[in-house]
Symmetry: C2
Subunit: 409 residues, 2 copies
């Protein structure tokens, strides 16, 4: 499958191909970093301009009612719910993933007040562990953070653990956890489970309720194409919603925010997981990304994601020396990204980016490529793999302009 004619036949037969034109993509760029910042839906450009000009500029404060700003976190949340196997009233879009991790963790320790440990894994995207650390300190050590290697999680599920926080798809390797099995194993020990879906939501089918998950959080600006720093979301299983007093008890989560009473009374249901005034521009962008995703079938997205990923592995392994696959080789065990290690990964990635092929680098040596089926073509994968081969074989990456410096992407 290295003949370009065959590759183009895959694009011609792709049932998702028509989605590409719904995005405003730059000319001459192959974008394999939608797992870090998703591309711009054309509709978002129009919608955000309308929110700014008409809703903010012309309708001003009245927009909270007339343009339904007040309902936006819940409305967008209910749409995200459809992507992750949740009920409409179990998800709300607001704040950042980090803040939502804190909300879920603090709710979970409230529901499991006699257990001293909050458990997670090493090598996760670090904000999850960092937020645990802050929470632990704030409780005066009432809960202590414990991090174990991913493979040691099953044996760490003991009856002194209040909550298990795991990321479904690892940000660096793309390795998937078995959500159903780990949730079941943890709950069998009375442990509540939080899943971080940052690299899963919008990338593959997720079935939170099918797995009986307690809490989840996720990111709006990656696979959901919500725009830079778009609001994140938090899922709270219906059975827990009215049992917890939110630790971040802001006015928008109050039962009657416009009564302006001195005492906090949490709203019924998912609304109590709101805190301050939500970012309306960010929510507008996010809603467009989610709406677009809801037009596609998530099973079809997953199929194409695996096909793109497999093609990339095959082409890279056949053509590129000095790289080692970091992601799991078994398709069912990985998300929608492929990572390869290369000793000089940073420089190799800079050389690729200079050619307009955008993936990213994760320390210390990982080349990371995200495959976003709504706008990535099989031909893009072919071009990227051939460029990578060329850069490595010719030593193009050795040019000093690609030398390591502070990396942000």
């Amino acid at each position: 499958m290295t003949d370009l004619t065959d590759i183009r036949a895959l694009d011609a037969a792709d049932p998702l191909a028509h989605f590409r034109d719904r995005f405003d993509l730059p000319e001459g760029v192959i974008y394999l970093d939608g797992n870090s910042l998703g591309a711009l839906p054309r509709e978002a450009k129009k919608r955000i301009a309308d929110v700014v000009s008409r809703e903010w500029g012309q309708d001003l404060i009245r927009s909270w009612n007339t343009n339904h700003w007040i309902e936006a976190p819940r409305r967008v949340g209910s749409k995200i719910a459809q992507l992750i196997g949740a009920k409409a009233a179990e998800v709300i879009a607001t704040d950042s993933t980090s803040i939502n991790v804190f909300k879920a963790l603090s709710a979970a320790i409230d529901l499991n007040p006699d257990r001293p440990l909050i458990l997670s894994e090493t090598g996760n995207f670090p904000t999850d562990a960092y937020m645990m650390e802050g929470l632990s300190r704030l409780t005066g050590g009432r809960v202590e953070q414990k991090l174990v290697a991913p493979t040691d999680i099953p044996s760490a599920l003991t009856e002194d653990v209040a909550v298990l926080l795991l990321t479904h798809t690892n940000y660096k390797s793309g390795r998937l956890h078995d959500m159903a099995a780990l949730t079941k194993a943890a709950q069998a020990k009375g442990i509540l489970v939080i899943w971080d879906l940052s690299h899963s939501a919008g990338a593959m089918p997720v079935d939170l309720n099918g797995c009986n998950v307690d809490f989840a959080v996720g990111c709006g600006y990656k696979y959901m194409n919500g725009g830079p720093g778009a609001p994140a979301f938090v899922f709270v299983a219906e059975r827990h919603q009215n049992q917890v007093f939110p630790a971040l008890s802001g006015w928008m989560g109050h039962a009657n925010p416009f009564d302006f009473t001195d005492d906090y009374e949490p709203a019924a249901g998912i609304d109590r997981f709101l805190c301050g005034t939500p970012g309306i521009l960010g929510l507008a962008g996010l809603e467009c990304g989610v709406d677009l995703m809801l037009e596609a079938d998530m099973a079809v997205i997953r199929n194409k994601s695996l096909a793109l990923s497999q093609l990339f592995i095959d082409l890279v392994e056949a053509n590129c020396p000095d790289v080692n696959l970091v992601s799991p080789r078994t398709p069912e065990l990985r998300g929608s990204q492929i990572s390869f290690a290369h000793e000089r990964g940073y420089s190799v990635m800079q050389a690729l980016i200079a050619r307009g092929i955008i993936g990213d680098f994760r320390a210390p040596n990982v080349l990371r490529f995200g495959f976003t089926p709504l706008y990535t073509r099989f031909e893009d994968v072919w071009i990227a793999a051939m460029a990578l081969s060329d850069i490595i074989r010719t030593g193009e990456w050795e040019n000093e302009k690609y030398a390591l410096r502070a990396a942000v992407t």
Copy 2:
């Protein structure tokens, strides 16, 4: 001063008059609610469109470096610092006011670990007290919230109080606290002080460092014209910054966020008060609002604010029956809004809004009018007062379409 010719002479002599054209204001509307949601700067419309189309759409993930997204919270914070008497490195723009209140409170109790009380006032905008309540629960009662009437604050400053949280300008009455005196009195008892500047920043000169303030928070979408749900800001006095371990210890506040280590090491200085990925669209809008405000002289803004407010009081009291001034009569004791009580305040405000004169209503009976000197004319004040008089005198508000219903604005 009720003759329209005299009023127009005031506008003709107004040194801030030329700022009005920098805003995209709706035709036929007199907007006296910029204390709730500021108007749209023309520049923000252009800037946000550019951030969406070029920075997000074309430059994609590269924008974190090439378009300086990564620096936006600090850059915007350093500009806000100029409006509130802070050093550039003492303010960062991110998250909501509520979340920033939580950060400041948790930092303060960390600095004052042996004191059990966190003190605030009744009748404040409630999110401040609500966040205290959540924090108190999370610490397992290590700190307890205490709310006293505003006049009782001086006598409540005792040595068991860790932190005093006050709002500088009351959201409902516009009454100002004496920041210098209360900060000094509290600090004399070893109490740390947090000022909520939501209704002050951008409305009047504020001198945080002149008053030796410890922490402050404030809102981006009111007087600073940052757009709906724009990021808020947090000020931390330089002397405290490296002494506190942030409770909301997210990855963007890490010393080396792109090292992705498992352990949290707080960044030096104000950066540790970042948490998750910041909302870039919101920051872009906020920066335009702040830039515009920095072009004006805050002392001139304050003078015009007081002149507009006084004119409104005079006209309303001379022409409107059945209303009572809620705001302090002494100009130095109030912010940039005027509130009047009317028994049927909700209906009166709806009738005003139906005429295109937009103030807002605060339960149970308060008509609230904000005066934003960059785009409010003396003639607007005259028209608003005359309309209010007409509505009350004729009983126009008694129309059933203005009857009380769920109020959001």
